[in-house]
Symmetry: C2
Subunit: 299 residues, 2 copies
Amino acid sequence: MMEKERTRRQFLSVAGKGMAASLVGVSVSCGQSQPSAGKKQSRFEIRNPKFGIRKKRRFELGLASYTLRNFKLAEALTMTRKVGLKYIALKSFHLPLDSTPAQIRAVAAKVKEAGLELYGGGVIYMNSEAEVNRAFDYAKAAGMKVIIGVPKPELLKLVEKKVKEYDIKVAIHNHGPGDKTYPTPASAYEKIKNLDKRIGLCNDIGHTQRAGVDPSVSVERFADRLLDIHMKDVTEASAKGHGVEAGRGVIDIPRFLRTLIKIKYAGIVSFEYEKDADNPLAGLAESVGYVRGVLAAIS
Amino acid sequence: MMEKERTRRQFLSVAGKGMAASLVGVSVSCGQSQPSAGKKQSRFEIRNPKFGIRKKRRFELGLASYTLRNFKLAEALTMTRKVGLKYIALKSFHLPLDSTPAQIRAVAAKVKEAGLELYGGGVIYMNSEAEVNRAFDYAKAAGMKVIIGVPKPELLKLVEKKVKEYDIKVAIHNHGPGDKTYPTPASAYEKIKNLDKRIGLCNDIGHTQRAGVDPSVSVERFADRLLDIHMKDVTEASAKGHGVEAGRGVIDIPRFLRTLIKIKYAGIVSFEYEKDADNPLAGLAESVGYVRGVLAAIS
């Protein structure tokens, strides 16, 4: 949050008031990439820190609460605040899918009281019509803007109908080499490219890399449908790769973040740190620090 | 360590065997900045990642064990390994100054068994001849290469005599606005500039910034005597500033690290995270991650 305030201060110090007014708020919106306002950047403008405002990231950092799956909601919220993240997507451990609307609203209120923003839920598997219907009612009751989901392909038409009805986005999550339906962002994109634009991708860059696909190439290729990101690092670019602290694995995270800035991604980059399930705070903190450090150096 | 291995791999992939042989080992030495081998870098070489080997940092990351002052040695070593740091300077909490040579050697052996390198000790205050003598015997028994110390100015002649006799460096630690002897690196430099070159500075960048001095300017100005660094961030550039996770405070850490690369600093950058004394691991991990992220983006 301090980070954001500083960005805004720098912003106001270099931008005229009119320009500021036209851009404020852009950076916190969740969803698709937005086209650049104004003319194309010159090479000079991209490099010169005095023109940093033109290249500033439009995305925010958040948490996929699967990271804290072995902790109760209250502890998870405390840890999220501890590492300075504001946005959170809850996994069912913290908000069961079969909760009543009143229970869901109570959890949403706790997130808000903690000073966090409940922007999404997931990963939510949808294997039947009933599960699709339940997911949308769940997301609506919680005030979520996006469902990070895995709907069976034959249910995508129903998903599209619900997206139009509820105006809630669905970001399809790729799960790597072992996943027969959506191993890569490309495999998901193929199935949703002709559907409503509010159906897009949650690019899990660990699973993308495990499938042998470069996450930087992948997010740029499908930038028009990029709705959410699971940020992590993995030990190798194969099915055997497993989660590790950001910066200790094989993903080129500086290049990935430069690509997100380049494509003007304006959603959330959510950390999903899968290692150390019973004691994840240090590894999560190191990962968040790493990404902030890269951003500080390239922004 | 993984980081280092990768650097070495990249290195070997771009450098010929002869060139590799002539440079291996440079990056791990502790001590003064080393002049560049070969001709001056062109702007192109500095920017182009294929020539990264020429601009790669020569310093390593480490820990000032004051960070873990409320933990026993064994726990401190475990936490140091957890955040992936290899070099450590022990504070008296972990190795009392009045230890016998046998006790000192036993602690040094434990550090080695943990896979860490005990490169220094401190901060060690030296207020009498006896304390100077003790500090050098202590450092010698521990195999330390550098004493991070605060000798009374009138003892500096004795310190110089001991440096020559023991060939152990002394890095004088600045302690900010409240310190009447060495508030800034400049005030220490003034007192040691005509002494043996093995007497230099440990620039504590938090205290430097708290004294209203830009750490980047400070390390560049006194590069010839820069022997150690206490890496941290602080909430404000005044006496009221206090320690905070790297990246959350007011120090421009990307610029600082770029400066260390520019001046070819070849010692250790040791984290001294003073916040959360009873539960420092998450904040230390975030700080280490932040610095690694910056380095990944600029190296």
